[in-house]
Every structure is written in C-alpha cells, then in structure tokens.
C-alpha cells in the first residue's frame, strides 16, 4: 500500500474531489491523504524538521489557524510519513505571461503586427526564467527538496481558454507556447533538484495550450460543497483533478 499525500493551496480541491471519482480503482493500492488551505494561509506555513504546517512561530491569526484545522483536522502534517507527496498549486506569475502575450509578437508564432517583437532566443530565455523565480526555487531546496524523488510538483493550472477571445488567437498561442517552455524549464529544474515535476495533463489543454473549459466547470472550493461561481481563470474541476492524480499515481505504481 502506497501512502500518498496531496498538499497545497486551493488548487488541491480539484484533486481531493477527483480522488472520490477514482478511489475504487486504487483501492488496496493507494492510501491518499490531503493537507490543503487557501494560499494566503498556506504561504505562511513552514517546516520543523519534516513536519509542515503551523508552528509556534507561525504568524497567523487565530481565525486562520481555526480554518486550517477546520479544513484538515490538524494544523500540521509529517511529510516523512508518506511514500509520495504531490505539491499542488505551485504559483508561476501569470500576469507577466498575459502581459507579454497581449503586447508582443514572437518569431515563429502567429503575428498581430504589434510594435514589440521578441526573437525566439529572447522569448525562450524569458520563459525559462520563470523556473528560477523565488516561489519555484523555494520548492526545489530546503526541506521540500529533502523529499527527493518522493516529491512531485504540480503547477497551478494554466489560465482558461476564455482568457482570450477568437480575435486574440495570436495572444493565446504565445501564452500557450510560453507555458510549454516554462513547463520544460520546470521539468529540468526539478530533475536537477532531485524532485519531479508533473506537467498539466495534455487532455486538459486546448490546441493553443490554455486550460480547456470542460475541466473548469463546477470547480470545487476547499470548504464544503461550494464551487467557484464568479469568473475564475484558474480553478479546475474534479475531472481535472482525477486526470492529474491518475498521471501521478500511475507514474509511481
């Protein structure tokens, strides 16, 4: 029996719900646990040894700690107790990607006649730099990296295809191409750090490389049975969560 943990921010909700769709398939083979909370709380959690969560020095108000307990039944979790850990919701700053996709043309990609133009080398270098940003680097060093190949990183999903309308195909293509480059860079960085990177499943992407809306309807929230009703670019549904979990679990079993 593999002891597996899904840990992360609000994007973990899709996987937690997705597990309910596939638990029978992995019955007797995988025991899955989760530990998740909203990003503003999650980013303040830390390690003591390999125990991750809220500690005495954690700077969180009581109501946040209460929510952490409410969602997980505990404020800490010992990562050393698991055979595999999937960290969900790694944040790659999307505003810069969207800003570039909306303002630049890129060699070799559909052209919009914009004033700003990037060569392929500049575009690749820029995209690869996202894999060196602080939130990413933090996951590839220190206690996280000590998990070694037991740790797999899953990014926050790409923006939904509705981000760009039909007249903005070039922007969508640039956004998707940049995301592909970032994923490739993250894969290399993770391998270098001895951890693993799980790219967003291809089935959940449109031809232009954005998240397919089919996997975005009724995206669950972490608490209760609520779903995201307001326009939301990134949260995905249980079907998406199941895709990710299957890719992850199949890679280890």
């Amino acid at each position: 029996m593999i002891r597996a943990l899904v840990i992360g921010n609000s994007h973990a909700a899709a996987l937690i719900k997705g597990w309910q769709m596939m638990v029978q398939e992995y019955s007797g083979k995988v025991e899955l646990q989760s530990f998740a909370t909203w990003e503003p709380i999650y980013r303040k959690l830390g390690f003591q040894g390999m125990v991750f969560g809220a500690h005495a020095a954690t700077d969180l108000p009581h109501h946040s700690l209460d929510r952490l307990t409410d969602m997980n039944g505990t404020q800490q979790i010992d990562l050393s107790a698991f055979d595999h850990v999937l960290h969900v919701g790694l944040l790659v700053p999307d505003a810069d990607l969207i800003g570039t996709a909306g303002r630049f043309d890129v060699d070799g990609l559909p052209d919009s006649g914009r004033a700003n133009r990037l060569s392929q080398p500049a575009f690749r270098a820029w995209a690869h730099s996202f894999a060196q940003r602080p939130p990413v680097r933090a996951m590839m060093q220190g206690p996280w990296a000590q998990l070694g190949s037991r740790l797999t990183l899953l990014r926050r999903p790409r923006a939904k295809a509705t981000l760009f309308d039909a007249a903005q195909i070039p922007s969508a293509t640039i956004y998707g191409a940049a995301q592909d480059l970032i994923d490739a860079a993250l894969t290399r960085s993770a391998a270098k750090a001895g951890v693993r990177f799980l790219p967003q499943p291809a089935e959940s992407l449109t031809d232009h490389g954005l998240s397919d809306g089919r996997f975005a309807d009724t995206a669950p929230r972490l608490r209760g049975d609520k779903t995201y009703t307001k326009p939301d670019l990134y949260h995905m549904n249980a079907a998406y969560g199941a895709l990710c979990l299957k890719a992850w679990l199949d890679s280890m079993t």
Partner: protein, 347 residues
C-alpha cells in the same frame, strides 16, 4: 587696474577648487544650461557609460523613453543581455557620432547600411547592433524583420524626445570601405568575417566628429525643433587601439578630440549642454579610485559620484544623498560593452 583674475570665484582657481577638494565633493562642477524636469521625455544613447546615465535618470524619476521594452518579468540581468532597457531603443552602444548619425539617417530613410547581416556559427546577427541578440537569429530575413521593428521604435523615440542625452565614447571604428557604412564592432568580434579588402579602420578627427554630431542634431531638430541635448564624454578608456599608438596614448587622443568637440558644441549652441562626468571620474582628486582594478571600468562609487552631481544640479536629489537606481546596478563588468570584447584578442 586690478588683475582680471581678481574678482573670480573660488571655483575658478585650482588651489581652492581642486587641490583641497575630496573627490566626492562635486558641488559647482556642473551648472546646467537648462533644467531637466520629470515632465521632459529623455532619449539616451551613446557608449557603454551612457547606460549608467539612463538607469540613474530613470531611478530618479525622470521620464526616460523606452520604445523597445523587455517583456514583463524578464530579470534585469537577462534584459540587459538582450539589449533591453539600456537605452531608449535597442540600438546597443553607439560609440561614435558617426554611428549616431548613421542610425538617424537610416531611420529617416537617408541611408541604408551596407552589409546588414553578419553570420557566426550558422546564426545571423544585425551588423549594426550584434550584441542585442547574443545567440543570433535563424535567418537573415528575421534579422531584417527585427531591424524594421527597431527602426520604427527609434522613430517613435525621436518623435517623443524633449531632451537627448548622448555620451561620446570613441573615435576609432570600422567602416565598409566602399559605402562608408560604419559598424559598432569590427567584424569577427561578435560575428561577421573580417575582410581587410572590404573593411577599413577609421579614427575620426575633430572635424569629422563635429560634423557627424551636427548632422545628427539637424536630423533630430528637423522633427523636434525645441529638442535640447546633454553631452557627456565616456571616461572609459579604449580596450584596444588600431591606431598603432600605445593604447594609453590613443585613449588620451580620442578623449581629447571628443572632449573638445563636446566643449565646442556646448559653447556654441544654446540647446547643447555638457555634463563633466569625464572630469569627475578622471579627476586628479580621485587619484584613480573611480576605476576598478583593471583601470578601465568605472566603479559604482564613480558612477554614483558623477550621477549625484548631475541629479543635484538638476534639483532631483540633494548632493549628499545616494543616487536612486531603477534596477539594481550591475557589476561594472556587466555593463554591456562590445568594445571590451576586444580584450579577448590580446596576446
């Protein structure tokens, strides 16, 4: 009759103005002809020392034009490597007034540089700015496409400029012998193939430097009649000389020509000012401390001292306060300076 020197202020006398002065005390060295304000749109260009000027002005809240910005989120060091944010467009270093003039003539359709694409290792480079794409491009056609975009960006920058800050850097350069097209580097330094029958070394003299700058000024004033200029002379010595002289003698000769041209222009034209960063860095009071160990790169302290003088004179920051910078100041060796690549060819 008293001596005509009798009523001169202390700044006019070496003993009172220099002999007892600390290198960092630059008050009085520069009295601007006109004031720069945050409402001025500033175009920067010139040799690699001009990169410090643009960065400092931007950091101090001046509106430095950037018509070819880096993509959002590109790390500063990477942006610099690709020529983003160094100047008002990605023309790279314009070391000579000859090159400044040529770029402006190209933008305005008066000239079309010969030998526009250089090759190296199967990649293709814009011969007029080979350093801005360090990996080169896949095809010559892509180089031409990017050049078209670049010239349009320069065109927009010129249309917006209230003030042009230009740093005169070198007198030595390389031209295409048949057409006179000038290049920022010798062929084979970054890309291209050196053909002694085709490429010719030039060392511009005073009349040439002056004529080229005045022609450039005319081109800018044709579209921006009220534009004003601030000239500086780069204190960075030559990395190598083709003049046949000792490089130190050649450097002194080049800088003397550039300084003389800048002085003449500032003395003659109301729209041209001269900022003495060259004097601040090379001053005897500094005793060489504004130069790094290689005695060529200007130290961060030197840049800070010169730019503090400039900003204080324009009322941007008090003289005794540190100079703000828009992006982290790179190490002196990180300033993009193709000319420094010549060092790789030394014996």
């Amino acid at each position: 009759m008293p001596s005509p020197y009798a009523d001169l202020p202390p700044r006019a006398f070496w003993r009172t103005a220099v002999a007892g002065r600390e290198a960092s005390q630059t008050a009085g060295l520069y009295e601007p002809k006109f004031s720069l304000t945050p409402s001025h749109r500033i175009l920067t260009a010139g040799s690699c020392f001009a990169q410090h000027v643009g960065r400092t002005l931007r950091g101090a809240g001046f509106d430095v034009i950037d018509e070819e910005p880096a993509p959002p989120g590109m790390p500063p060091a990477m942006a610099q490597k690709f020529g983003f944010g160094l100047y008002s467009a990605r023309y790279g270093n314009l070391y000579t007034t000859r090159h400044l003039r040529q770029v402006l003539e190209e933008v305005t359709g008066h000239t079309r540089p010969a030998d526009p694409v250089w090759e190296c290792g199967g990649r293709f480079f814009d011969a007029q700015r080979p350093s801005v794409e360090p990996e080169g491009m896949e095809t010559p056609e892509l180089v031409a496409l990017h050049r078209k975009h670049h010239l349009a960006a320069v065109d927009r920058a010129l249309d917006a400029a209230d003030v042009v800050v230009f740093t005169l850097g070198l007198t030595e350069g390389w031209i295409d012998a048949e057409t006179g097209t000038t290049f920022p580097t010798a062929p084979e330094t970054i890309a291209g193939r050196f053909d002694p029958a085709r490429y010719q070394f030039v060392n511009d003299d005073y009349p040439q430097v002056l004529a080229d700058f005045l022609a450039a000024r005319d081109l800018i004033r044709a579209r921006r009649p009220d534009v004003q200029f601030v000239l500086t002379v780069s204190p960075v010595p030559l990395t190598a000389t083709m003049s046949g002289q000792h490089v130190e003698v050649a450097t002194a000769g080049s800088k003397a020509v550039l300084r003389a041209v800048a002085g003449h222009l500032a003395a003659t034209y109301a729209d041209i000012d001269y900022f003495p960063s060259y004097e601040i860095i090379t001053s005897q009071t500094a005793q060489g401390r504004f130069y790094a160990a290689n005695r060529r790169s200007v130290t961060e302290d030197g840049v800070q001292t010169a730019m503090a003088c400039f900003l204080a004179a324009h009322g941007a920051v008090p003289l005794d306060q540190p100079v703000p910078t828009a992006t982290p100041e790179p190490d002196e060796d990180d300033v993009v300076c193709e000319e420094a690549l010549l060092d790789a060819f030394r014996p």
